[in-house]
Each structure stands twice: as structure tokens, then as C-alpha cells.
């Protein structure tokens, strides 16, 4: 599934580069330039792609975190004391 979804995302990104519309000046519905109509459609395609990713690739394991109370930052002064000047020593 992951391979298929990766290909889907790559395919959508490639569709953004619509070289075939580069010089197309036709008007869709009599007022909307074809290149603009294409990219408006692309925006809807992007939303649909994200819906597919949310459905099939949602990181459900992250929902476990919702039950946690917010923790404090691990970066207290003790962290500073050990790491602040210690980059070069590591």
C-alpha cells in the first residue's frame, strides 16, 4: 500500500508540471483560461490526494499521545549544563 501511495504522491507532483498547457490560451466556459482551470482542478486533486493519504496512511499510533497530559520541556538548566558546551566533546 505504501508503495502505491508513494507513487500516487509522485504522480500528483508530476501532474503539477503541465508542460502541455504552457502556451494554451483557450478559455474554458468562455471566461476561465485553460491553464488556470487545470490548476484549479489540480488543487481539488491535491485535496483528494490528502484525503486518500489520511484514509490509508494516517499515523494512528500518534493518537495514543492524546491521553497524555502535556509534559514539561526536557530542556531544563541541567540539560544546558551537560549539553550547552559539550558539542565538541561528543
Amino acid at each position: 500500500m505504501k508503495v502505491a501511495l508513494t507513487l500516487l504522491v509522485i504522480g500528483v507532483l508530476l501532474l503539477h508540471q503541465d508542460t502541455w498547457n504552457w502556451t494554451n490560451k483557450n478559455l474554458v466556459f468562455g471566461f476561465l483560461p485553460a491553464g488556470l482551470a487545470y490548476h484549479a482542478f489540480f488543487s481539488l486533486l491535491a485535496a483528494a490526494t490528502m484525503a486518500v493519504l489520511v484514509h490509508f496512511l494516517w499515523p494512528a499510533h500518534l493518537e495514543d499521545e492524546e491521553s497524555l497530559r502535556p509534559a514539561t520541556s526536557p530542556h531544563t538548566e541541567s540539560a544546558a549544563a551537560t549539553a550547552g558546551g559539550g558539542d565538541e566533546a561528543r
Binding site: H16, W22, K25, A46, M50, L62, E65, P70, P74, T76
Partner: protein, 605 residues
């Protein structure tokens, strides 16, 4: 004066929102900086979108489309519509979870702990803070100039700047993240309403858009209906710019405010649609404007939608427009809060402030920093009023810089073997890239192809006198606005019409760089000006200079910067020792081992 009064009413509303949020708040750093990580789905979507997408979408993009045509939508809007949701989906959700689990409030907090580093984290803090500061200064400058323009000079620049600085600092000071998120949500709704109203009123006044578009198609500006004036290399490399979004501190911090990870679902799905709702009418109106105004000079195109509105609507709408502009100007609130959060968490708390003064002092340190940054930004805005271009340029380069930081975050989240030295190498390359681009831009200013300057503004519509141009410093310009994606991260303003004479070139080799359009003739058979000139002829097309930007073999600098940053991250990480096993276990726990969690401490403790 009516537009100015509407603007003051708007300022009063946002101030009230901030104070109302203050009443709802608690005195803890988690609450002040992250709204207790409890934003609901609607506010989360609207504020994230509003933070990321300022009124440049309505105003600047129209001016840019007037110059370069419908390709502006694909260049900046539809690319953002897929790349930004992807980054929020893959990176934003992880940042949210890590923040929830370990208490991180900033990117640097996470990176420091993830790679067991201190000083390198401070370097990344300094780099991101330096790239963020120009936004705040431009915001104050924009406030001063916008109020001065809208009030017809009755509110001087110094007073207008002070009003905006005080209002923004006040609602951020009192309301913190909750107030900022509510104001951003309000602004987003205002943008959407404003766009819809403007679109409908202008359509009615013009007698239908089909008439206007056919007029453009039959004119020398027919090229606006296609992308023939946008080089393929530029179009492609623009896909890298939206990577900057998730690396902007205010966006990353905003990702940590959601109450539930499920809130991200609707956000990533509706984000492309929100972008479309704002950008599509804006770009479309920019092209429609070409049927009304023949030759607006490139420097004055960013108020093209204001011209359309003033010539096709009434005074009330102009007032709403003024409020929309102020909403744009005040979009620096998120940056101010982010900078304050970074200062408090990455410096004050990290270097001993929390131990010495206690957790409650964090909130007051943050508030003090908000006041300080407001005062400093105002003083700089006063002193350097005529040098807004410096900060506008800095914002341009910042987009590339933040985009090129994305490999660091990706490596931290998804590659166990990555190291702090890899991060240092990548961040250093970003700093070098930004400074290098700045240097190349500066030294090539004299040889840059000059866009044509039409002799006069021709208003073909039912025009009265054209409105005053948006002053320098107002973040409304496609070249300057603190929006994502950066309209200006480059784009050479393609001449709206071919010049009568070739542009002046000084000792440099002209190059017809570009994609499908390269080398063709302009309307009327006139030769196009060269798209770019070689900065170092001995290096061929490696560094090219267009009318407003530098490119590398025709591609925007952001592309090589992202690739080099990613390469250094990988190579240097492989050459150095990874973090300890304990840290790796902490950030890459085996699936199913999530039950062994650290006990959560009291917020702010």
C-alpha cells in the same frame, strides 16, 4: 476618512479579541505560548491557514498575475496546495506528538534533545531568529505606510506605525497563542469574505468576466492567458519554496497547539481548497485588470486590485479593503509570538532562567520580550523608513533559507542515524546559501535586465484618478510580502509589454534563459528582453541575474540550497557518531512499547 474609520474599528476588534483571550487564559507557559495545546479543529485550520497565507494572496498575487499571467497560480498557489499539506501531514503531526509527549514548544527544543546538543541548537536558533526578524520590522513599516495612505495623510507614518505596533504587541502580550490564533482565524474569515465580495462586485460592474477575458485575449496582453512568459526552470523550482512553511517557527509552533492529532485530518484535506478559494479569484482578477489598465508600471502593479475595486465598487468596500490590508499588515503577530516563545524556551529557560526565577517567570519573560521586540521594531521602522527594500530582500531570502532547513527536520524525525554534526553542516550551508544569494544579488544589481517603465498609467476603465501606489514597506507587494509561498522568492517581474529598446546591459552576457518561452518574440514582433545575464561570464550560466533575482542555471537558489543541505545532512551524519542508544530509544521507541511513558509533570514545572 471612512476607510480609515473602518480600519480603526477593525483594530478595536482584534484588540478586544486579545483581551478576551487573556481572560480565558492561565498563567502557565504552556497556556500562554501554546494555548494549553487545546485548539479546536476549526480554529486550528483557520489560524494555521491564516498564519501561513496573508493578504498578499489577495493583493500581491493580483499584481503579480497582472504582470506574468495565470501561471502565478500554478507557481505559488497550487504548488503550496500540495506541498504544504504534505509537510503538515508528515512533519506537523510528528511535531505535535513529540511536543505532547516530551513537552517541546519549539523546534530547537526538540532538535537539542533529539541530537543531544546545546550550542548547535543555539546556532540553529540564531539562524531562524535572524530570518524571522525582518518580517516583524516590515510589519510595523507596513502599518505606518498603510494607515498613512488610507487616511489620506491624516495619520502620519510615525503614528500609524506606533498604533500598529501597540495593537499587535497588546493582543499578543495579553492573549498569547490563544489570542493570536483567534485573531488569525478572524483574519482568514475576513480574507475569504473580502475576496468573495470583491469578485462578485467587480464581475457585475464589468458586465461579466467573459467580456473582460475576450478583451484580454484580443490585446497584446494575450500572453497573460498562458504561462509563456514563465521559464520552465523557475516554475519547477518553485515547488521547493513551500517546504519553508513547516520550518517557519510560527507554523511549527502552531502545529503543537492542536488538541487532538485528528484535527490535522481536516486541515490537510481542506488546506488546498482554502488556498484555491483565495488565490483563484485573486489571480483571475489580476488578469482581468489587464482589460482595464493597459500599462501599469511593474512597481505599481501590487495595488491593481485596489484600482479595480475603487473603479468598480463603492466607499464601503474600500473600507473593508482597508481592514483587509491591515489584517495583512498585522500578520506579523504570529512571528512576534514565535520569536518570544523561542527566546523564552530556547534561551531564557535553557540557560538557567527557569531554575533561577521559577516557571512563572517564563511567561513574563516572554511578555517582556514581546514589548521589547515591538519597541525595537518600531524604532528600526522609524530610523530606516526609506530602506524597506533591505528588509524585503531579507524576507525573500528567508523563504529559501527556511525551505533549505527542511532536510534537518526530516532527518531528525525519520532517520535514526542522523547526527548533530550533520545538522550543523546543513544549517551552515543554509546560512552560506542565504548570504551568498544576498551577495550575488547585490553585486549584480548594475547588470540586471531592467523591466520597461511605461511612460504613464493608462486607465481604460471607468477610472477616476488612480489610487496612490502602495508605499514601500507595506507588505502588500508580490515582491515583499511575508506570505507563504514567497511571491518574490524570485520572480523576476516579466515585462508586461516588450520595451521599445533592449534593456541596458553593462559588461555582461545576455542569456535567453527559460523554458518553452525562451527565445520567442513578444507581441508585435518586438524582441523580448533577455531574461537574464551571466554574473560571471567565465562560469557560463551557473549564476544568472534576472530583473529581480539570481538563479543557478536558471533554477531558483532554493533548489540547490535544499539539495546541498540534504546532501550534507546525509554525508556528515554518516561520518560522525550518532546519539546515544537511550536517546534513540526515546525518539524511536519500538512499536507497542508506547506503554512505557515518562510520567507527565505539571505544566510549567
Amino acid at each position: 476618512m471612512l476607510p480609515a474609520l473602518i480600519v480603526f474599528a477593525y483594530l478595536g476588534i482584534v484588540l478586544y479579541i486579545g483581551i478576551f483571550a487573556f481572560r480565558k487564559g492561565k498563567e502557565s507557559s504552556e497556556d500562554f505560548f501554546l494555548a494549553s495545546r487545546k485548539l479546536g479543529p476549526a480554529v486550528f485550520l483557520l489560524s494555521l491557514f491564516g498564519t501561513n497565507m496573508t493578504a498578499v494572496a489577495i493583493l500581491g498575487s493580483s499584481g503579480f498575475a497582472y504582470q506574468r499571467g495565470i501561471g502565478v497560480y500554478g507557481l505559488m498557489a497550487s504548488s503550496s496546495g500540495i506541498v504544504i499539506p504534505l509537510t503538515i501531514f508528515f512533519i506537523g503531526t510528528r511535531l505535535w506528538a513529540l511536543g505532547k509527549r516530551h513537552g517541546h514548544m519549539t523546534q530547537v527544543q526538540y532538535l537539542r534533545d533529539r541530537w543531544e546538543m546545546g550550542g548547535i541548537g543555539t546556532f540553529i536558533f540564531a539562524l531562524t531568529a535572524a530570518m524571522l526578524v525582518p518580517y516583524i520590522i516590515i510589519g510595523v513599516m507596513g502599518g505606518g505606510t498603510t494607515l498613512e495612505t488610507i487616511s489620506g495623510g491624516q495619520v502620519p507614518y510615525a503614528v500609524g506605525g506606533a498604533i500598529v505596533a501597540v495593537v499587535v504587541a497588546s493582543y499578543v502580550f495579553f492573549g498569547g497563542m490563544r489570542g493570536t490564533a483567534w485573531v488569525n482565524s478572524f483574519q482568514t474569515v475576513l480574507f475569504l469574505c473580502f475576496g468573495a465580495i470583491a469578485f462578485l462586485l467587480i464581475a457585475r460592474s464589468l458586465g461579466g468576466f467573459d467580456t473582460a477575458m475576450n478583451k484580454v485575449a484580443a490585446s497584446p496582453k494575450a500572453f497573460l492567458l498562458s504561462r509563456e512568459r514563465i521559464p520552465a526552470e523557475e516554475f519547477f523550482s518553485y515547488m521547493f519554496i513551500p517546504l519553508s512553511s513547516i520550518m517557519f517557527p510560527h507554523i511549527a509552533i502552531m502545529c503543537m497547539t492542536a488538541e487532538k492529532v485528528g484535527h490535522f485530518k481536516k486541515t490537510v484535506i481542506f488546506y488546498p481548497i482554502c488556498i484555491m478559494l483565495i488565490w483563484l479569484p485573486s489571480v483571475f482578477l489580476g488578469v482581468v485588470a489587464a482589460s482595464q489598465y493597459l500599462n501599469v508600471p511593474p512597481g505599481e502593479t501590487n495595488d491593481i486590485i485596489i484600482r479595480l475595486l475603487r473603479d468598480n465598487t463603492n466607499l464601503i468596500v474600500s473600507g473593508i479593503l482597508g481592514a483587509g490590508i491591515m489584517a495583512c499588515v498585522m500578520a506579523s503577530d504570529s512571528q512576534i509570538l514565535a520569536l518570544s516563545t523561542m527566546f523564552t524556551e530556547d534561551l531564557f529557560a535553557y540557560y538557567g532562567g527557569r531554575r533561577k526565577f521559577g516557571p512563572k517567570a517564563e511567561v513574563w519573560a516572554g511578555r517582556a520580550f514581546i514589548v521589547a521586540i515591538g519597541v525595537v521594531a518600531y524604532l528600526i521602522a522609524l530610523a530606516l523608513k526609506d530602506k524597506a527594500g533591505i528588509f524585503e530582500l531579507a524576507i525573500r531570502f528567508a523563504f529559501s533559507g527556511f525551505a533549505a532547513l527542511a532536510p534537518i527536520m526530516l532527518a531528525a524525525l525519520f532517520w535514526k542515524r542522523s547526527t548533530k554534526w550533520g545538522a550543523l553542516a546543513a544549517a551552515s550551508s543554509v546560512a552560506a546559501g542565504v548570504l551568498g544569494t544576498w551577495y550575488l544579488t547585490n553585486i549584480s544589481n548594475d547588470i540586471a535586465p531592467k523591466p520597461p517603465r511605461p511612460p504613464a498609467v493608462a486607465a481604460a476603465g471607468p477610472g477616476t484618478a488612480p489610487p496612490p501606489p502602495v508605499p514601500a514597506g507595506a507588505p502588500l507587494t508580490a515582491e515583499a510580502s511575508p506570505a507563504t509561498p514567497d511571491p518574490a522568492a524570485t520572480p523576476a517581474a516579466t515585462p508586461a509589454s516588450p520595451p521599445a529598446a533592449p534593456p541596458e546591459l553593462v559588461g555582461a552576457q545576455p542569456v535567453a534563459a527559460g523554458g518553452p518561452a525562451a527565445g520567442v518574440r513578444g507581441a508585435g514582433g518586438a524582441p523580448r528582453p533577455p531574461a537574464a545575464v551571466q554574473i560571471y561570464p567565465a562560469l557560463g550560466n551557473m549564476f544568472l541575474r534576472g530583473p529581480t533575482n539570481v538563479t543557478v542555471y536558471g533554477y531558483l537558489p532554493v533548489m540547490p540550497m535544499v539539495l546541498i543541505s540534504g546532501l550534507l545532512m546525509v554525508v556528515v551524519s554518516l561520518m560522525t557518531r550518532p546519539p546515544s542508544q537511550a536517546t534513540l530509544d526515546k525518539y524511536f521507541p519500538p512499536r507497542g512499547g508506547a506503554a512505557r511513558r515518562e510520567p507527565a509533570e505539571a505544566p510549567g514545572g
